[in-house]
């Protein structure tokens, strides 16, 4: 007991000195304008998170002005390219979809960044991926779906998008007998479920929560995320049999764990990065931000930039088989 107490005290002391050493100078942005790039058009989840984070970063980076700039295009690739190419002075940072890991792994055309080299500032949420099944479909559990004889239809976002890749990977990992119908953006997939055209859709729990609350659908499977977040929903991991499937699922788990991340260009000076990391950490603990997020119906599950960096590097380290599987999943 005493030993543990001692260890804890020492740990705390170390932490304290570490943070004191970093001595992040939160005032270094006084009078400066920081551009927070959101890689989508105004409106929608990323924009809402981005604007919220920008507002509170401004509060903690004393004296700065943080403005949101929307840089949409090519499914977040343009935004990520823009952040990557910016001058690493901490005055240009921003947010994009973690699903860009897929694009980097399969070396998609247009990718001008290396995710391993970004300066990671932190993340705001767990983007738990789920399989949602329509209430009017004849399938009541994931077991029913695993057993189907003729292919059933899943709605998915546009070919090549992160959400589409998630669906393909799930189908691949679980050997589902499905036909994926792409091209559903926003809530169109849910509308299609209401019309009984498709039976299910893969997406984030957050975006589908409303539909489930209204009684139109249910979560049949959680692909990732904290097991306690969705009580009673079976976990995809328990249904994957082979090694290849497990590896693919790990990738989804990793990238949904580091959702709504904030990054800066490679090579940011240590003092600048430390200050921005600290500001984001402080912002995410701010009761006002938490209250605002609750009102906006945004989930929060923040983590530090160091953790994000480690996770991204691990996720990028995939064997050729996984990359090949991804390429075939992405539909060429």
């Amino acid at each position: 007991m005493l030993k543990r107490l001692l260890a804890a005290t020492m740990g705390a002391a170390l932490l304290w000195s570490a943070s004191a050493m970093a001595a992040a100078d939160m005032g270094q942005f006084r009078g400066k304008t920081i551009t927070y790039i959101v890689s989508t058009s105004p409106g929608g989840g990323y924009d809402t998170y981005g604007r919220l984070i920008a507002k509170y970063l401004q509060k903690y980076l004393t004296g700065s002005r943080v403005v949101v700039r929307n840089v949409p295009g090519a499914g977040h690739i343009v935004g990520a390219n823009t952040i990557y190419a910016a001058k690493p002075d901490g005055l240009t940072i921003g947010m994009f979809n973690t699903g860009l890991i897929y694009d980097q792994l399969i070396k998609r055309q247009g990718v001008l960044f290396d995710l391993a080299k970004f300066s990671w500032i932190g993340k705001a949420a767990d983007d738990t991926r789920v399989l949602m099944v329509s209430k009017s479909a004849p399938y009541k559990t994931i077991g029913d779906i695993l057993k189907v004889k003729t292919p059933i239809k899943f709605a998915a976002a546009g070919v090549g998008s992160a959400a589409y890749n998630d669906a393909r990977i799930l189908a691949d990992a679980l050997h589902l007998n499905v036909q994926i119908v792409p091209g559903f953006t926003g809530n169109e997939g849910e509308m299609s479920m209401l019309r009984n055209e498709v039976v299910a859709e893969v997406g984030t729990a957050e975006s589908m929560e409303q539909f489930v609350k209204q009684g139109h659908g249910f979560f049949a499977l959680a692909l990732s995320g904290n097991p306690n977040a969705l009580p009673g929903v079976p976990r995809a991991r328990d249904y994957v049999k082979d090694e290849r499937g497990k590896r693919l699922l790990t990738l989804i788990e990793t990238l949904s764990e580091i959702g709504r991340l904030t990054a800066g260009p490679p090579g940011m000076p240590a003092g600048v990065l430390a200050a921005e990391r600290e500001a984001l950490d402080a912002a995410m603990k701010d009761p006002a931000l938490i209250a605002e997020a609750k009102k906006l119906d945004l989930d929060l599950d923040p983590a530090s930039g160091a953790l994000v960096e480690a996770r991204i590097k691990a996720a990028l380290n995939q064997p050729p088989e996984t990359v090949a599987a991804l390429k075939s999943a992405a539909g060429g």
Binding site: V159, E188, K295
Partner: protein
């Protein structure tokens, strides 16, 4: 029906000074967002959401609805006065509205536009109220198969809108459709017609198309026509086709003109009714989009007119049809947002987020537990439209001065702000280069009497057509068009083509505008 709720909520709205005051503030904001190219209602909502953050449910929702309801009415002002539409639907208004301004009827066009958009907004809201009980089956019967056929129906209007030359109209329309295919192909996700440029992956936006085809050519030709003292009317007419009389007519807008325009609306009551219903019905179907709806209303107006040859040359019915269309759809798209939690347009998607933030939980329970909010929002649409028309008529003569600003003042501002709109919309500077290319082509079209409206229709409907065709085949197989509503739509398409051919064979009526 919940008549008691319907009237008590109206009474509450009208007797709560705070709500009325907020609506009076919201309306000019909506007009501002609508009349500035590239801003639009969607961005207006995003930027206003922080302001409603601390309001209570009803106040916040009424404020946002009132702002959003009048965006399109605002958009008609620059379309009519200077020929610079700010978005897809406004371009339909510009066709006849700006032509009227050149004939010295700016006031009449503004009056017709204000009147038609208000009546359209009112009828749309009434349609919203009356259709509550039958809403669900209507919405659920329209699948991608029907979207595809609706898009084809809209494309057949290209023939009607081709003006004097059918072939030229078809070429431009097909060119617009081709431009709609720029970007990632929906079935393989690979880039198409992008020339290795990643910013083209998302395609040619309607905003860029509209500003390039209308704003840029209008400004260039205004500059060429230039200072009227050193260019003879005859030279001007040779360069500009029909615009010969322009420099000699007064552009002053008077109340008399505005009321003349309002009177015109009453003279086209059946047209207004048909367009409102058509468009509210299209707006109610999530996934088709309001841009398409306004153009279909305009296409219907031309097709059903006894004098289709007058359109595009300053026919007041064209303004009325287009304006009724763009305003009636707002009411239509509010429905699915409220009852399914599934937004009917991209603007409504943001509205949905705002509703959730205010603690309004859209869904089927809206009809049972929160019917008062539903009716309050319907009335907010109605009242906002009325406030808007009163404000605009009152200030009409002053707004009208925009139309008589000296060309050399208008040109630099319009060019800078049109280019700004294109930049803000896509967030990339490369859009400016795109405007340069497409805008130059737009000027050549204008200069050599090629119709430009079919291009916009092609760009708007091409994406919808390809996207929904691909989904329809994936969902229903190749026989997707055998569904009952699909067959009705196919009959309508054939009727539309047949009607056009029958009319084309009739002896030509002498053009009346000459």
């Amino acid at each position: 029906m919940h008549l008691d709720v319907a009237f008590s909520t109206l009474f509450d709205l009208l007797t709560t000074p705070r709500l009325l005051f907020l609506m009076v503030i919201a309306v000019p904001m909506g007009v501002f967002f609508g009349s500035t190219p590239g801003l639009g209602g969607k961005l207006g909502l995003v930027l206003l959401i922080p302001f409603v953050y601390n309001m209570d449910q009803l106040t916040g929702a009424v404020f946002l609805c009132a702002m959003h309801a009048v965006v399109h009415t605002g958009g008609s002002i620059p379309s009519i006065l200077i020929g610079v539409p700010g978005d897809g639907p406004a371009a339909a208004t510009a066709l006849d509205g700006f032509a009227m301004t050149r004939k010295g009827q700016a006031g009449r066009a503004l009056g017709a536009s204000f009147g038609a958009s208000t009546v359209g907004g009112l009828l749309g809201a009434m349609f919203l109220g009356l259709s509550l009980p039958i809403l669900e089956p209507i919405i659920l019967n329209f699948s991608p198969a029907e979207f595809f056929l609706l898009a084809i129906l809209g494309i057949t209007f290209i023939a009607t809108l081709s003006g004097d030359s059918f072939i030229k109209g078809m070429i431009v329309g097909l060119f617009g459709l081709m431009c709609a295919f720029i970007g990632l192909d929906p079935s393989t996700g690979s880039p198409r017609f992008t020339f290795g440029q990643i910013w083209l992956w998302d395609g040619l936006s309607v905003i860029v198309a509209v500003l390039s085809m209308f704003a840029v050519p209008e400004m260039i030709s205004l500059g060429v026509r230039g200072r009227s003292e050193d260019v003879s009317a005859q030279t001007a007419s040779r360069l500009q086709g029909t615009a010969a009389v322009e420099e000699t007519v007064s552009r002053k807008v008077s109340y008399a003109q505005i009321f003349h325009g309002l009177w015109d609306v009453t003279q086209h009551k059946w047209l207004v009714l048909r367009c409102s219903l058509l468009v509210a019905a299209i707006g109610v179907i999530p996934g088709l989009g309001g841009d398409a709806a306004a153009w279909m209303a305009y296409g219907h107006t031309v097709q059903s007119s006894k004098h289709p040859e007058r359109f595009g040359k300053g026919e007041v019915a064209g303004v009325i049809g287009a304006e009724t269309g763009s305003c009636a759809k707002e009411a239509g798209s509010l429905l699915p947002t409220l009852f399914f939690g599934v937004p009917g347009s991209s603007g409504m998607a943001i509205m949905l987020g705002a509703f959730l933030m205010l603690g309004i939980q859209p869904g089927p329970t809206m009809l049972t537990d929160h019917i008062n909010i539903v009716w309050s929002l319907i009335w907010a649409l109605v009242i906002a439209n009325i406030i808007c028309v009163i404000m605009l008529i009152a200030t009409g003569p002053w707004i009208g001065r925009l139309g008589s600003v000296k060309a050399s003042f208008l040109i630099p501002y319009v060019l800078v702000f049109a280019l700004l709109g294109c930049y803000l919309y896509g967030g990339n500077w490369q859009n400016l280069i795109l405007v340069m290319v497409v805008g130059s082509l737009g000027y050549l079209f204008k200069r050599h009497d090629w119709p430009r409206a079919p291009f916009i229709i092609g760009v708007i409907l091409g994406k919808i057509a390809e996207d929904s065709l691909q989904k329809a085949i994936a969902i229903f197989g190749a026989g997707f068009f055998l569904r009952p509503i699909s067959l009705i739509l196919i009959a309508l398409i054939l009727a539309s083509i047949g009607f056009y051919m029958w009319r084309a064979r009739r002896p030509k009526i002498v053009p009346s505008h000459a």
